[in-house]
Amino acid sequence: MQTSTASPDTQADNLRRAAIDKSVKGPVLFLFLNGAFWLMASTILGVLAAIKQFAPDFLGACSVLQYGRLQPTHINALVYGWGVQVGLGVMLWIMARRSGQELRTGKSVLYVAAVFWNIAVTLGLVAILVGKSTSMQWLEMPAFVWPVLLVSFLAFAWPMVFMFGRAFRPEGFMVSTWYILGACFWFPWIFITANVALHCLPGLGALGAGINAWYVHTVILLFFAPVAIGAAYYFIPKVTGQPIASSQLSQIGFWLLAILGGWTGMQHYMGGPLPAWMPALGAAAGVLLLIPVGVVGLNHHLTTLGKHNLVASSPTLRFVFFGALFYPVSGAILALISNFSTGATLQFTQAWYGFQIVAVYGFFSMTVFGAIYYIVPRLTGCEWLSVRLIRNHFWFSVYGIGTIVVTSLVAGAQQGGDLNSPEMWDQDFMQLALNLRPYIIARAIAWALITWSNVWFLIHLMLMVAGLGRRSSAPTLLEHDHEEVLPQAAHA
């Protein structure tokens, strides 16, 4: 920080920022660290699940490690252990910073909530493995888990709403906090609705399956997407030093997502037992979502225009940039699996897995990695240790995710073609199983690469939290040969 040249105003700003950072430090770091642990666990489970899918006898016939139990555990660890947990950390920090509000009271409540969140996730995942799975997608954890998760989430959402309410807003419209407030508000609503409908009501039959699909889609579109877009809207201008290109585009992007997001989901069971208008609406919304997705993508693109050299040097911008790039990609894949022509081919295939991974990992997690690379040094007061580790993390993640998404989509097309091939109407599933095998092997390898990068990410993060980072006033940049320095704001 160039405090020597800074005016008294900047100095006061810096002090205020430091005070805000200090007030949220403990809970945010706790969430990040636990989240990184679950991420590693989830990727290891991802490797195992992929291997078990093509070689069911791998590691013997142990009941705990069968594909039907491993796969949901892998996804749930990714969603609740990592996704929602770090999402909350990033939301809390950005909301505090952007509203200019310290976390005044209730820090201990946050710690308790975070601890209970992790206990609940642990119990839930172990329960799936030992045979208590409900087999509802993303809700496989037994019924006792969700109230704990809900209360913990609300304990974090509550102070964020207050921060937003108290915020001093000279500019009027703050797009990143809108998204984050939206996420605070949508997630509990969706979560309560789905859990009450599926666990408490006497039984909804096929409608329950539709609600389940709705839950998965809305959590992706109205929790993961807003958190990641909010973070991208915060960090891209911050690091590039340019204002968001168009406030109008960002408003359009926000409200269209808010309006369309809730209608998606039922198209997952197109051609199924649900009344035909439900999947039809979901398909229409899934395709129309291309508009807000494209608008936000364009806005991010315009904001980074002319600053692409920073993508090479700033770890934050590099991750956020690629995360933001994956948003239109996820939107395109959603449109592909939602409409009734390609969607019918890709239904019940690996493409569905590809969509979940591109949305939760490619888009959400990559953006959140960028946020973590920015936030953690400011909370711990030391800089990231190793450029090489960050670079490893980036490239292994990008190639790993790219491989998983591409192979899942191609595998989906292959599988859908096989299922629908008129030549195979009286065949058993041998050809299908054999055709699928290479793609699943590729997925296992890709998850192994990602696991490798995540192990180092976790170690790097642990060292930072332990305060063993570099003591330096200069941030860790990926390339130093560019003499052009980052704008002042990026250091703050």
Binding site: G262, L419, W425
Partner: protein, 228 residues
């Protein structure tokens, strides 16, 4: 603060509408969904539709083992996919059925707390498995050692639903007849547990293509129980 209020109201309105239309109203209406009677003159059938409930105990095993990850329970209509024409996926087990198996309706899953429509179709669809199921012992063998039936099978073995015990005197009639490669030690036998029996009961109860009252019957006037 007024801006804050407008914002919240807009959020509630934009999400509340799909929430009401897709979740709340259908869930309330679903409560009044019940079995309907066949009309003897119109449908040529008697009794109630859907006739037989599924085996819930077995369905719980189906859920906890995560069978849904690879098996679907949903036949799509012919304009979307060829599910209905696949051999053996409906009541008609002929190699070339005259009409495709019908796609499913909301009532087909009546009485099930949650319909396991499935995640992926890495294995065959099980909507109407009860019609094409081989005898009990063969299903048990499939669950215990899938590769003993198809060496290419990527289905996991559910050996933990079976107990291996010392054969006393004559081998039990319940004991699995395994080929040499998959057989257990001499003098021992493999017996299905109650859970395995429940799972098989459930699989045998999967028959979701009974004619819909008032619609032309897919399988012409086949009495529900006559086929098997």
């Amino acid at each position: 603060m007024s801006q804050f209020r407008t914002f919240i109201i807009a959020l509630v309105a934009s999400f509340g509408l799909p929430w009401l239309c897709l979740i709340v109203v259908p869930a309330i209406k679903y409560q009044s969904l019940s079995q309907v009677a066949y009309d003897k003159d119109r449908d040529g059938l008697e009794g109630l539709y859907p006739p037989a409930p599924i085996n819930r105990q077995g369905q719980l095993i189906y859920a906890r083992e995560g069978c849904v990850q690879c098996h679907t329970q949903m036949i799509r209509p012919t304009q979307l996919a060829l599910d209905g024409w696949r051999k053996g996926w409906g009541q008609d087990q002929e190699a070339r059925p005259t009409v495709p198996t019908r796609s499913n309706t909301l009532r087909d899953y009546l009485g099930e707390p949650f319909a396991f429509l499935g995640v992926q179709r890495n294995g065959p669809d099980l909507t109407n498995y009860g019609w094409r199921a081989p005898d009990r012992n063969l299903i048990h063998q499939m669950l215990y050692a899938p590769k003993s039936l198809h060496d290419w099978s990527n289905m996991p073995s559910f050996a933990h639903l079976y107990t291996e015990r010392l054969a006393q005197g004559q081998t039990s009639i319940k004991a699995l007849k395994l080929s040499k490669k998959f057989a257990v030690k001499e003098g021992y036998e493999v017996i299905p547990t109650e859970e395995a029996e429940a799972l098989v009961d459930y699989l045998l109860s999967l028959k979701k293509d009974y004619p819909v009252p008032g619609e032309s019957a897919a399988v012409a006037a086949a009495p529900a129980a006559a086929a098997k």
